[in-house]
Amino acid sequence: MTRIIRQAALPWLLGGVGILTLLLFWWAWLGPLDGLGRLGNLFTPQATLASLTELLRRAELYEHIAASLQRVLVGLGLALLLGIPLGLLVGASHYVEWATTPVFQFLRMISPLSWMPIAVMVLGVGNKPIYFLLAFAAVWPILLNTASGVKQLDPRWLQLTRSLSATRRELLFQVILPGIFGNILTGVRLAIGILWIILVPCEMLGVSSGLGYYILDTRDRLAYSELMAMVVLIGFLGFFLDALARIAYRRWAKG
């Protein structure tokens, strides 16, 4: 019994040790920067933690977090709206697949951030270019996972549905979509990871809210301990989002 508990606790324990090691490196690494004097002190874990607790008490921070999360959600929503239908088409037809694969692989390899100047030129400053860039980044994992899900669908399910004289609509909503739900969830999880990484640089341009904007703001105010606190916070939120997506997937897989 105790052995089972010990085994279950081991990953968590080692994970904690890993985090502590990271903190230790952070702390030790700032030693040689002593020359920076007072400035170096602003980057230490202690200063960061103090700033973080102070930041967490400000209502302003939550507005920035809300703005960022809202953008991620809109970006993800757009990516789903675009990626699922396209993925269904690609998965259902070899011709569509052959015609689109090189295009998609080409577009996918361009960092979405490269589109930033063009997006701002076309869509103006504000949220719109950010939505566009986020959706553009997140659409690929959703599209590709949807397509591979359709290709892996059990042909016997399709035969059964056909034998029941199903319409195309019934086939889509009662067999194909439920049948590829796991693939879509996998796509969403990958998309969230990408979205969160792209989000911060996207918010450094032309908006006055969000975590990316706030990072630049702390820099301009020379509030370096706050900057470090923001970096840590972004990591935490990303970690949390990913955990959420993973739990959702596991809950579904257990079904």
């Binding site: 035969q159 059964l160 034998s163 199903a166 019934e170």
Partner: protein, 269 residues
């Protein structure tokens, strides 16, 4: 005699096999009346499941045609229910939902939710799975899955029931119960049933006609009519004689196939 519900005329069927051609069925004809149970017997790989798909409108024959209610039958029909060899349950639906799957499709007669529920409950009761109705397919035994698939067909109250080895995974007692259920349903609803099996006893217990498929490509080697009342436990002797006759025909055909194969090999050499 009334006109048949389902009729197959001179079916020929085969599959592309690499660059060549694998002929499976040759010149198969039969007809199915309302209220009749016909079994198709035949060795593994002879083409029984392929035949069933053609009769279900799921696959086109290379030659010949199928008519349903005297109309050309080229695509699945809502009055025809097919139980495939594999139970083919949808893993995201529980047992009850699997049985009800398809009942609300546009091609089906319009029923209220309450009516559909009742049909599902009824079918579940008939196959004895009411207690497990909330379970998911992965929590079912092979026999339970097979009975669920049968219930899915029964819930639609079809005019024609095409069953591909529907009782293969069941124990003796349950199989007997399901056979009795099938006989009851045919009596009550006048359903036309075509049942595939490789169990001679099952064919003898259930059918008014037995078709024996054999050869390569397969044809109907012989056909027996069994005009005995149900249940047939009191007619063991008559059935025993039939059994021997069927077995003989079967053995003879398989020997012939083997001989043909050997001859073919020699001819090649």
């Amino acid at each position: 005699m009334t006109s048949p519900v389902l009729e197959a005329n001179n079916l020929m069927l085969g599959y592309a096999d690499g660059a060549g051609w694998n002929p499976v069925l040759e010149d198969f004809s039969t007809s199915l009346q309302a209220g009749e149970i016909v079994t198709v017997l035949g060795p593994s790989g002879v083409g029984k499941s392929s035949l069933l798909r053609v009769l279900g409108g799921l696959q086109s024959p290379q030659r010949g045609d199928v008519t349903l209610f005297n109309q050309p039958h080229k695509k699945p029909h809502p009055r025809v229910a097919v139980a495939f060899q594999d139970p083919c349950l949808l893993p995201w639906l529980n047992l009850e939902q699997n049985v009800g799957f398809g009942l609300n499709f546009a091609s089906q007669p319009v029923h209220s939710t309450a009516q559909r529920k009742e049909k599902v409950a009824h079918a579940l009761e008939a196959v004895g799975l009411t207690h497990a109705r909330r379970r998911y397919p992965k929590e079912l035994s092979g026999g339970m899955a097979q009975r669920t698939a049968l219930a899915r067909c029964l819930a639609r109250e079809p005019s024609v029931l095409l069953l591909d080895e529907p009782f293969g995974a069941l124990d003796e007692v349950t199989r007997g119960e399901m056979q009795a259920l099938l006989i009851d349903i045919v009596k009550a609803r006048h359903t036309a049933v075509l049942l595939i099996t490789h169990d001679i006893d099952e064919a003898l217990q259930l059918s008014q006609r037995v078709l024996l498929l054999g050869g390569a490509p397969a044809t109907t080697l012989n056909e027996w009519s069994i005009d005995l009342p149900y249940p047939r436990d009191d007619h063991i002797e008559a059935l025993g004689l039939l059994r021997i006759d069927i077995l003989k025909t079967l053995r003879h055909s398989s020997r012939k196939v083997t001989n043909d194969l050997i001859k073919g090999d020699l001819a090649c050499a």
